[in-house]
Amino acid sequence: MNSTLTTICSIAILFATPLLSAKTLEFTIDGIKSSKGKIYVQLFKGEGNYLSNKAYLSSIAVAKQGQITIRFNDLGVDDLATDGADANDLSNDYAIRYYHDENDNASMETNLFGMPTEGYGYSNNAKANYGPVKYSQIKFHLASQTVLNTSTIAY
């Protein structure tokens, strides 16, 4: 009886496994200058969603001086999009941008010219250079089971 139950459970688990292999993205941010506030991270799927500010997934982490790692699980499966992102965007491109909300007001501070005055950054450790970064600089593929990506925050 016990043996039968075990078998049934195993089969159930087997059938529950999705046909597409779920992937994990670990995004490490270093150079965080203080433990004040939070780190807001957005994951985008495809350039169109990035340009229209439609995040695929979002994450908020408590800021920690030095380094934090954000994990995005179950990527690569046919997930429901969030924040109005286009779920039909079958692109395998992803991109991340983030900022350090030091004053904890849930928004990124900018000066009168629109330049960030709180720390921010992008996947692939892309940096603004005499202008904003381009999507081509920050996109990456889910090429393996666990994808690692890093960025040093710019203040």
């Binding site: 997934l57 994450s59 941008r97 849930a106 010219f113 330049m115 603004a128 250079n129 904003p132």
Partner: protein, 517 residues
């Protein structure tokens, strides 16, 4: 992994405010070169300058400087006036070379503050590099790390905001008990007024209602300081918007505004005030389309357009709102002396004006040791903006640059305008001049071709135009020494009444201020 809607979009990460660096003219030969070739130009520049200096000592003032100048008492010739008490501060590019490379433009050099402290019987000089973030980083690595507005560095570090490459190299003003070294594309840099030690990058809105809203904004190098101590200034955004600042004498923000000037010319160096208005004078510069690979070569990002009228934006000082706009003939001016306003609203101002920006190419050529004539020197023009919208212009014969007026007359009616021009020298300004703007008469002193005269500043203890002294540095080419010269402000033609010598020369500077004790 939480999927939450409250994450605010990190949108609007705007372009870096770097497109309004101190800029120059397009250098056509740079446009289609590879990064490697562009970097090679810096090596070539160093070799060419070094070679030229051997036969042309007149280039001394653009020699690279490697260190600070410790305090040193100057040797006095003549009688030092006993009613000058305070410090003359000057700023200018001084660090031009690292490793085997040399910048391609004078304006790219890291700033150095030189101070001349007047006591009853002596003048003491010292000079220190402004310890900007850029300067410190490049000192540590002993090489250029960042591309400049003309010089392209291979594997340049990214420039995420203008202050990353702030060289603090244009002007210096006393503020409260400090001095501020000024650039024009980013923040002021606060320094100790006595030791010249660098203290911090100024965040204008700190400890005020503005918080970080003014952090990193362009704060230009020619603030206008009114007789009441208020400091007025502007800052150009890459978008063509212009921020306007009113600070107290202590450097605290009193008012800030923003106008959309829709200016595409990328460079805006100076401005003016009257007792009622701010005058933003947009030169005939417009954007120059460049391909993406040259986006960083900012000298390629704008051009002079002879068909584009200059615009004068007249802005109310209280509301910081645009009140009137005037069009002038096409032209370009780095510097303006003063503006003033009649009771009926008629506005008068002067400009050191030109009909091209060729001087920018010439300043680049000098960096490679190629001597150029002063054919592109500007001249003084006196403008009147009439209440009916019309304008008049009167040009003064001869060339003129670095205009200065008495401090107590900033924004008020002035009759005297002190400038530099050239008489004997083909390459440098060698003459100080006082123009009577009413009569057109000039009082001059010609240093001669053996001297390179720098901006001279009025030092006076009285609020009477014509009294006091005109003080300025000059590089004596044959002896390779810099001297500080003191003239009676009302009789330049009699020559300096006192001259104080350094045993060496210091780099040619740009602008400065006098802080009375």
């Amino acid at each position: 992994m939480q999927r939450r809607q409250i994450l605010k979009n990190i949108a609007g990460i705007a372009g870096v405010g770097a497109s309004n660096f101190v800029l120059g003219n397009p250098i056509a030969t740079l446009v289609n070169l590879s990064t490697q070739r562009k970097a090679d130009l810096l090596v070539n520049a160093k070799q060419a300058f070094s070679s030229a200096l051997k036969t042309s000592p007149t280039l001394l003032g653009l020699q690279n400087n490697t260190g600070n100048f410790p305090p040193r008492q100057l040797t006095i010739e003549g009688k030092l006036p006993n009613d000058i008490s305070g410090v003359l501060y000057r700023n200018g590019p001084a660090k031009f070379e690292r490793g085997d490379q040399r910048y391609l433009h004078q304006f790219e050099g890291d700033g150095m503050i030189n101070s001349f402290t007047f006591s009853e019987q002596s003048i003491t000089h010292q000079g220190k590099f402004v310890q900007t973030a850029k300067f410190i980083a490049e000192q540590q690595k002993n090489k250029f790390l960042y591309s400049g507005p003309l010089s392209q560095i291979e594997n340049s570090r990214n420039v995420s905001h203008a202050d990353v490459v702030n060289t603090a190299n244009i002007n210096v003003i006393p503020v409260n008990n400090e001095i501020w070294a000024l650039w024009e594309s980013g923040s002021a840099t606060a320094m100790n007024a006595e030791t010249l030690d660098t203290k911090r990058r100024v965040n204008l809105g700190e400890n005020s209602q503005y918080g970080d809203k003014l952090k990193g904004l362009a704060f230009s190098a020619h603030p206008k300081i009114e007789a009441n101590g208020d400091i007025w200034n502007f800052g150009l955004s890459p978008s063509g918007h212009i921020a306007l600042y009113q600070l107290s004498a202590k450097g605290t923000v009193k008012n800030v505004g923003m106008i959309n000037a829709r200016y595409r010319g990328k460079m805006l160096h100076d401005f003016l005030i009257t007792h009622k208005h701010i005058l933003i004078i947009l030169p005939s510069l417009t954007a120059n389309s460049v391909n993406d690979s040259n986006a960083m070569a900012l000298f390629n990002s704008f051009k002079y357009d002879e068909n584009l009228p200059m615009q004068v934006l007249v802005i109310d000082k209280q509301s910081l709102a645009l009140k009137k706009q005037f069009e002038l003939d096409a032209g370009f001016a780095f510097h303006f002396g003063n503006a003033w306003e009649e009771t009926d609203g008629t506005i008068h101002f002067d400009a050191s004006i030109n009909n091209n920006i060729g001087v920018m190419d010439e300043l680049s050529e000098l960096m490679s040791g190629k001597l150029r004539s002063l054919d592109n020197s500007p001249h003084t023009a006196l403008f009147t903006l009439h209440t009916n919208g019309s304008t008049t212009k009167s040009s003064i014969d001869g060339d003129s640059e670095f205009p200065r007026v008495y401090d107590h007359l900033v924004g008020q009616r002035n009759k005297k305008l002190y400038t530099l021009s050239h008489t004997e020298s083909n390459f440098w300004r060698d003459t100080v001049c006082c123009l009577d703007t009413d009569s057109g008469e000039k009082d001059k002193f010609v240093y001669g071709e053996n001297f390179i005269a720098e901006e001279h500043i009025i030092v006076s203890n009285t609020a009477k135009e014509g009294e006091g002294y005109l003080v300025g540095t000059a590089l004596h080419i044959p002896s390779k020494r810099t001297c500080l010269n003191i003239f009676k402000a009302d009789s330049l033609n009699k020559g300096p009444i006192c001259r104080a010598w350094l045993p060496y020369h210091i780099p040619l500077g740009l602008h400065g201020s006098f802080k009375a004790s």
